[in-house]
Point group: C2
Chain length 256, copies 2
């Protein structure tokens, strides 16, 4: 019989988030799970790594009896690096990150700690998936996600992923109707229209809170945003070779 | 006569870094410069944004008399957002970030605060360039960079950049010989071989420092790493549509 796969689970909402609890539960049906996740919320940390501060890793005893769990003081990318080099005894067969409380579709992939953890594992040559639900609530409704999470993870375990590619999976917020299925999609062209909320602190000094409205600038029907708006689960293959290959020829014609 | 272009200058090493001073000086010959840069070092912050903390912006009086300069308590991406929405009176014609003390070639682009600032401006539709020197020293030698910085920035001001593309410019560390010229390149496939430096704090608790060795896994002669090793300035066009378009067809054939 084939050995059970080793699955690393992480996230960016922190080890106590309901989303990671759900992900751990689903992964336990597919393999041997080890959790290495941030000890505090790390949303919006992008691909930050900790260069100028110390990192702590503690065994977390409170969650499951069967699964080793570790909480780390760093960013999601730090967690993956520490898991691979210091915590796990061998390279995992799969890394899953999430389930994030909130969208990582379209341009959000750039800011996402969840996806950066998945990308970090991808850089290390580990097949990797980020899962997110379009519901920012701590008590988000994760009902109905399980078969999709399981099917996508099983397929990645079976087929692997090409070098340099990880998956970005987003689920629509749960409404009355069940999801219509999965759409393989591309990242929609979109933007955040930032609005800074200006306030004055008790010492009389002005400060800002970053807020904003999401704006989908992409009319395409093959995008993640289109899939999600139509109650499909979106799966976008994401790469970390950022080269804009299509522009190299033009650049070569510039007089530099 | 055409109006002088408005140029936003930022970085990730902080507003007092010699690299940004050099960049300000070169940009002053090309247009009206405004600096909005972090008030503290932000290396390795990737595309982090500040969602859970306050942001401050202060006029910095100490640097130049002719150029308005602002220091911001956030990440490089925060600086660009704040500059565009709160500090500048109109959308800048160019955003330049750097000159970073250290490489942002190959996989470093993912972790780089310098490049994330450039990407953030790109997302906002502003032609944008990140500049980095392969010298981590605070007293890095910026001699000989100026004509290249000026030529690349002038070309971007003249030609613009396509939607969704920014430039990642890296300079070899200065040796005895002058740079051989510019190579348009692609991002080399590379990796950091992390080594965690394990220590024990005064309270007896174990902690880690993230360290590591850079490993170029790419034998290609069209990469940024190859250009830099051969004393060329590398220019990589970078995109923030992360979709791995080449894998969409295969994914569609999976039984999901």
């Amino acid at each position: 019989m084939k050995k059970r796969p080793l699955i690393l689970v992480t996230n960016d909402d922190g080890i106590t988030a309901p989303g990671i609890r759900k992900l751990v539960q689903v992964m336990q049906s597919l393999g041997d799970v080890v959790v290495v996740a941030p000890d505090s919320p790390q949303s919006g940390k992008g691909h930050a790594i900790t260069l100028d501060a110390t990192l702590y890793v503690n065994r977390a005893h409170t969650y499951t009896n069967t699964t080793p769990e570790y909480e780390c003081s760093g960013t999601p990318a730090d967690c993956v690096k520490l898991a691979i080099k210091e915590v796990l005894k061998r390279k995992p067969d799969l890394c899953v990150s999430g389930i994030n409380h909130g969208s990582n579709a379209s341009i959000n992939v750039i800011y996402s700690g969840t996806m950066s953890a998945a990308v970090e594992a991808g850089i290390e040559g580990i097949p990797s998936i980020g899962f997110s639900l379009l519901d920012y609530d701590w008590d988000a409704n994760f009902e109905g996600l399980e078969p999709y999470v399981k099917s996508i993870a099983s397929n990645v375990l079976k087929n692997g992923l090409p070098d340099g590619v990880v998956l970005n999976v987003n689920f629509p917020k749960r409404g009355k109707n069940p999801y219509k299925g999965i759409k393989i999609a591309r990242q929609a062209r979109a933007n955040w229209n930032e609005k800074f909320d200006k306030r004055v602190n008790p010492q009389g000094k002005q400060y800002y809170w970053l807020t904003g409205d999401f704006e989908n600038l992409d009319g395409g029907e093959d995008t993640d945003e289109f899939a999600l708006e139509n109650n499909y689960v979106s799966v976008v293959p994401v790469q970390f070779d950022l080269t804009a290959h299509h522009f190299i020829q033009t650049l070569n014609s510039w007089e530099l």
